[in-house]
């Protein structure tokens, strides 16, 4: 057997080779460019995006001369979803705001030799902007493009700018309610606009490979449309999220307000976080209050924390936690051991009620309380001597 026969013998399923005519030697001079323009009225609050609000949403520093028209919105379509050096971004959509509306510039390579033109165009465009905004670009689009620059020996820092990744922001605020925070879900839930006839992302790579085989550009029609929509959505969503951060009282769902509080807390925006915790009502009320008290305690505002814990006890919220916290408060702040003991006693009474909860965790809670109780009793005994 020669090498060719052996290759055929060991590969399964056997590949049927259809003879392809040698393609004419082509000169590659540029990638494909597509442009679109959307009127300003489609992006009502987009020009109101403020630096301070963006910095509430994530930990990253934003430039001093922050300007919504100097944000580059970016989204890629790739030949694979797994990453690695062999995965290529065959289409890149770039978008930005101007006085007259939203501009989208799409770059597409029709074959591998066009990739370097596509990349060079990205460098040229990105250099005009201060901030990049993506959906999951931190882990996907930007590392992938950086790979491509290295593979094409293009040395550039054009992507190393302050970055707003809407996926991470959205996850922090909407995951509790929506569970899955993909772009389609968010558009529907936040903007109330469902996508119709959209191309599932998993089918995108196949379009590129089919195009290489057939040369039929129509295969890209819905890829390009899908990508343009994604780019425009990035701009709309950012504006929308900023408004929500500025007006948490307008949020309809308690889960969202509460989650926003947690997100704000994470980046130490304490006052803004407390505002959200106070707003969280309904089923989220107890958790909001607990977070609020924890926030006070962390900042040394012990009296305020105690007021919140007492309020929770009065509403029978939060299980044994407020009792334990009050016990600590009486013991350490007020040096009032009998009051602390009373709190622990009430907590023990609470966990001794028959419960549907997992036996072992209840048992553990009971043991911890008993231990605290005994310790307080000993302390009381000592101070009497």
């Amino acid at each position: 057997m020669n090498l060719r026969d052996k290759l055929n013998a060991i590969s399964k399923p056997k590949i049927t080779v259809t003879p392809v005519e040698a393609p004419p030697v082509k000169q590659y001079t540029d990638c494909w460019h597509g442009r679109a323009h959307y009127p300003m009225r489609d992006f009502p609050f987009a020009l109101d995006v403020r630096r301070e609000t963006v910095m509430l949403m994530q930990g990253e520093e934003m430039p001093d001369g922050f300007d919504p028209m100097r944000i580059l919105y970016l989204d890629t379509e790739t030949t694979g979803l797994g990453g690695g050096a062999g995965t290529v971004a065959f289409e890149v959509g770039l978008g930005w705001l101007e006085e007259d509306g939203f501009h989208v510039h799409q770059l597409l390579m029709r074959d591998y030799p066009e990739e370097k033109f596509l990349l060079e165009e990205i460098v040229r465009t990105a250099d005009r902007f201060d901030v990049i905004c993506t959906f999951n670009g931190k882990t996907f689009d930007l590392p992938l493009l950086r790979n491509r620059f290295i593979m094409n020996r293009i040395r550039t820092a054009c992507l190393d700018k302050p970055h707003i990744d809407l996926l991470h922001i959205a996850r922090r605020v909407w995951k509790l309610r929506l569970r899955r925070c993909n772009l389609t879900n968010l558009e529907e839930a936040l903007l109330g606009v469902p996508r119709v006839d959209d191309l599932p992302g998993a089918l995108v790579p196949e379009r590129f490979f089919s195009y290489l085989k057939t040369g039929d550009f129509r295969l890209f029609d819905d890829v390009l449309e899908h990508n343009a929509q994604d780019i425009a959505s990035l701009c709309t969503l950012l504006a929308h999220m900023c408004r929500m951060y500025e007006h948490p009282e307008q949020l309809r769902f308690d889960e969202d307000v509460y989650s926003m509080g947690v997100a704000l807390d994470r980046f130490r925006h304490t006052e803004e976080a407390r505002r959200c915790y106070r707003l969280a009502g309904g089923e989220m009320h107890a958790q909001g209050q607990e977070r609020l008290a924890a926030s006070y305690r962390r900042c040394g505002e012990k009296e305020e924390a105690a007021q919140v814990w007492l309020g929770m006890i009065a509403r029978r919220e939060g299980g044994v936690t407020p009792y334990v916290e009050m016990a600590k408060y009486y013991e350490h702040q007020r040096k009032d051991i009998p009051a602390a003991l009373e709190m622990v006693r009430r907590a023990i009474a609470l966990v001794s009620e028959p419960s549907l909860f997992d036996e072992t965790s209840v048992q553990e809670a009971r043991n911890a309380l008993q231990y605290r109780y005994d310790r307080l009793r000993r302390k009381q005994g000592r101070s009497k001597e």
Partner: protein
């Protein structure tokens, strides 16, 4: 009692000495030193001096000198000879001189890399310099990975991680690839067969990327003693490699005792069992306070021995922690704890499979007991090397089992003592393996017209093939990866198939199911079929359910008083004939590609202590398939016609048994790497046929070698059967009479005479 006192006591004990076939003593070896070579960074020598190293051993100085002169080297020295210094010195020196310099360390297992890094850390800490050494493997937390990629001067990893975690993502490792000065590969003798063939291709990919990034790394390789370290190093790296083997490390005296258990049934040639004999010797060492490692060939034997020994040392509370088992399948934390216990001396005896044969740091022990021949000379020395300190006497016992190869070794001790260890064979151009890695290479970096792939043959054909298959796209002089797949995920370096391991779940406590170990897919049908008794740290479990799809085995603690042993059924089918010819005497022989299907159909229950057979059970599991190379001999009709089918069958079984003894010896490979199977009426040739094949997917060239030396193989088999003095066959020649019957030996002799044309 120390080893010297024990030696005297044993040598004056006639009952023990009766079974000792040979008592070999190696006198202590003096150290040979050399001065520090010129050219190392000046900060190194004072630090070494503070650690008590004032001069280097000859081999260390030699290695450092060659590396500094720009040579790729392979260092070949026995265990505990300070070989890590051979690579740590030039690597540290290069980084001290240039902070951008990078080095990559490859160890075959995670455990080994953990060990070596701790040693490196100590040196770096002592120098008080900022050289960052990081381990990058499956256990590295995601958050730490970025730091490793950016800042690690020395990246310690294993071939699997290099293959699937680093090379396909090379753009994230620009700093490493642009500045890579040294590639250190330790324990290269483990890279033989499939694993070695895979690594050679991983290195082809690595060097290709280094070229892209403009670095020209040097190789520093280390090997235990094997027959062909230089050849192995050159095949792995595809480059000429300079060999350093002038070992200058000192060594205490060593006794090597060949012990053959007494014959209990002369007619059947049956000897006392190797397990009880090993137990007695280990127990004797244990009682005398001599720290001992016992090596057994199978996981099962390890468990059986551990159970026996634990029973001996158990205290009134039932604790027997002084004796521990150790083998693949234990969880990493448990293994680390055992290794630590050995170093600290809390553990007096450990029973292990070859898992502890590699350079895992367990300190040097006083005594080693080999329960049966580990299969290769190289392994035997690796295992024996676990006993032996730089000062002080050590002792090694080889306890022979009744297996033919053990009996051969024990009756020819010089084979082990004098002969060079085996060749490590690998075949980087095994088409399966080459093609898989070629795809990975195309994914990692487009091939350009005229590009080769290391020294692999046929790169243009492979590219054309992948182009036609639509996996790469040829345009404008380059071949671009043009598929959605991530090809590295489809290859496992250690087996031919990328299969995931099975988890072993203890369900004894219904509240708390607990994973106690894992096992590879090919071993599962043998040891974890339903109703199998599985042993872990000497506790018996019964397999309640084997979920083949979910890759899980559910087991429950039992106290059964027996263990199980499964039967493997093998069938062969022909894929392609590469060469064939007929001898003058009408013997047809051929070389070609075979599909080997393995199926476990039943198991036996065997009682502890007496080893009686208590019955059997059925196993219903899917077949596992392997595609490999083989050669075969077909008997001429007139020879076959002389016998009735039973006689012929017994004779062929005898020939197969003999070939199993001589093949590994002549081909210089491990017995498990080559398989011999006979078929009285073969579906392939339709005639009585004896097959010999590479027991490794894709093959590593053993059958090719056997085809070329087939006459010699047959003549050696004939000589063994002619020379053996047993009347009707024994385990050392054609097989025990119980297996091959009264006529087996005679018929085997006749068949071999016909085959050799004598």
């Amino acid at each position: 009692m120390n080893v010297d006192q024990l030696t005297q006591q044993l040598q004056s004990d006639p009952l023990f000495m009766k079974n000792v076939v040979r008592w070999d003593t190696t006198p202590p070896r003096e150290a040979h030193y050399a001065d520090f070579p010129e050219g190392l960074d000046a900060r190194l020598q004072p630090v070494l001096a503070r650690r008590g190293v004032h001069r280097l051993y000859t081999h260390q100085a030699h290695a450092v000198r060659e590396v500094l002169a720009g040579q790729d080297i392979v260092v070949v020295t026995p265990t505990a000879s300070g070989k890590t210094m051979c690579y740590n010195l030039p690597v540290l020196s290069a980084i001290l001189k240039n902070d951008d310099a990078r080095a990559l360390y490859l160890f075959p297992t995670k455990a080994l890399s953990a060990d070596q890094v701790s040693e490196l850390y100590e040196l770096i800490e002592e120098m008080g310099v900022d050289i960052k050494t990081y381990t990058y493997d499956g256990d590295t937390p995601g958050a730490a990975r970025k730091a490793v990629r950016q800042a690690g001067h020395i990246v310690v990893t294993n071939p699997d991680m290099l293959h699937s975690g680093i090379l396909p993502h090379h753009t994230k490792w620009v700093k490493l690839f642009e500045n890579l000065r040294y590639i250190v590969i330790d324990e290269i003798h483990t890279y033989r067969g499939v694993f070695g063939s895979n690594l050679a291709n991983v290195l082809r990919r690595l060097l290709r990327l280094c070229e892209f990034y403009g670095s020209k790394p040097q190789f520093i390789l280390c090997s235990a003693t094997i027959a062909n370290p230089k050849e192995l190093a050159e095949t792995l790296t595809g480059r000429p490699v300079h060999m350093v083997d002038d070992n200058g490390a000192p060594m205490g005296a060593r006794h090597f005792v060949f012990y053959n258990p007494p014959v209990v049934n002369r007619q059947l040639g049956i000897r006392r069992g190797v397990i009880p004999e090993t137990r007695n010797i280990t127990a004797m060492l244990l009682k005398n306070g001599i720290q001992t490692i016992t090596f057994a060939r199978s996981r099962l034997t390890v468990e059986v021995l551990t159970k026996y020994l634990k029973d001996i040392v158990r205290d009134p509370l039932g604790n027997a922690g002084r004796v521990r088992g150790y083998r693949g399948g234990y969880l990493p934390t448990e293994r680390r704890e055992i290794e630590k216990g050995l170093r600290a001396g809390h553990i007096d005896a450990v029973v292990s499979t070859n898992a502890l044969e590699l350079g895992i740091d367990i300190g040097a022990l006083d005594a080693c007991v080999l329960c049966g021949y580990p299969g290769t000379i190289a392994s035997a020395w690796q295992q024996a090397g676990r006993a032996g300190r730089r000062k002080g006497t050590s002792i090694v016992f080889f306890v022979a089992s009744s297996a033919a190869i053990d009996q051969y070794i024990v009756s020819h001790p010089d084979y082990l003592l004098k002969k060079s260890p085996e060749n490590a064979l690998l075949n980087p151009d095994n088409l399966y393996i080459l093609l898989s890695h070629f795809k990975c290479a195309a994914f990692e970096l487009p091939f350009e017209d005229g590009d080769g792939f290391g020294n692999a043959p046929g790169a243009p054909e492979l590219l054309e093939y992948l182009d036609e298959a639509g996996i790469v796209r040829h345009v404008d002089g380059r071949y671009h990866w043009s598929a959605e797949d991530f090809p590295a995920s489809q290859i496992s370096l250690r087996s031919a198939a990328a299969e995931e391991n099975f988890l072993i779940v203890d369900i004894t406590n219904p509240q708390k199911h607990r994973v106690i170990g894992e096992m590879d897919r090919f071993t599962v049908p043998m040891l974890l079929h339903e109703n199998a008794i599985y042993m872990h740290e000497a506790q018996q479990y019964q397999v309640e359910k084997l979920d083949f799809d979910a890759c899980k085995a559910f087991i429950r603690q039992v106290d059964a008083g027996y263990y199980t042993d499964s039967d493997l059924n093998i069938s062969l089918s022909l894929l392609d004939i590469e060469r064939e010819e007929d001898s003058a005497r009408g013997v047809h022989r051929a070389l070609g590609e075979l599909r080997v299907s393995c199926l476990v159909t039943m198991f036996k229950k065997i009682k502890f202590d007496t080893h009686e057979n208590l019955g059997f059970g059925h196993v219903r599991l899917p077949e596992t398939d392997m595609h490999t190379e083989g050669m075969w001999w077909t008997l001429p009709d007139e020879v076959a016609a002389k016998y009735d089918s039973d006689t012929l069958k017994n004779g062929m079984m005898g020939v197969a048994n003999l070939l199993r003894i001589v093949a590994p010896l002549s081909l210089m490979c491990a017995p498990q790497d080559v398989a011999v199977v006979y078929q009285v009426k073969s579906p392939i040739t339709d005639k009585p046929t004896i097959f010999l094949y590479d027991n490794l997917p894709g093959g590593v060239g053993l059958s090719h070698k056997a085809y070329g030396m087939q006459q010699l193989l047959l003549e050696q088999a004939l000589q063994i059967v002619s020379d053996c003095e047993c009347p009707f066959g024994c385990p050392s020649c054609a097989g025990p009479m119980g297996e091959i019957g009264m006529t087996g030996k005679r018929t085997a002799w006749e068949l071999l005479t016909a085959l050799t044309g004598g």
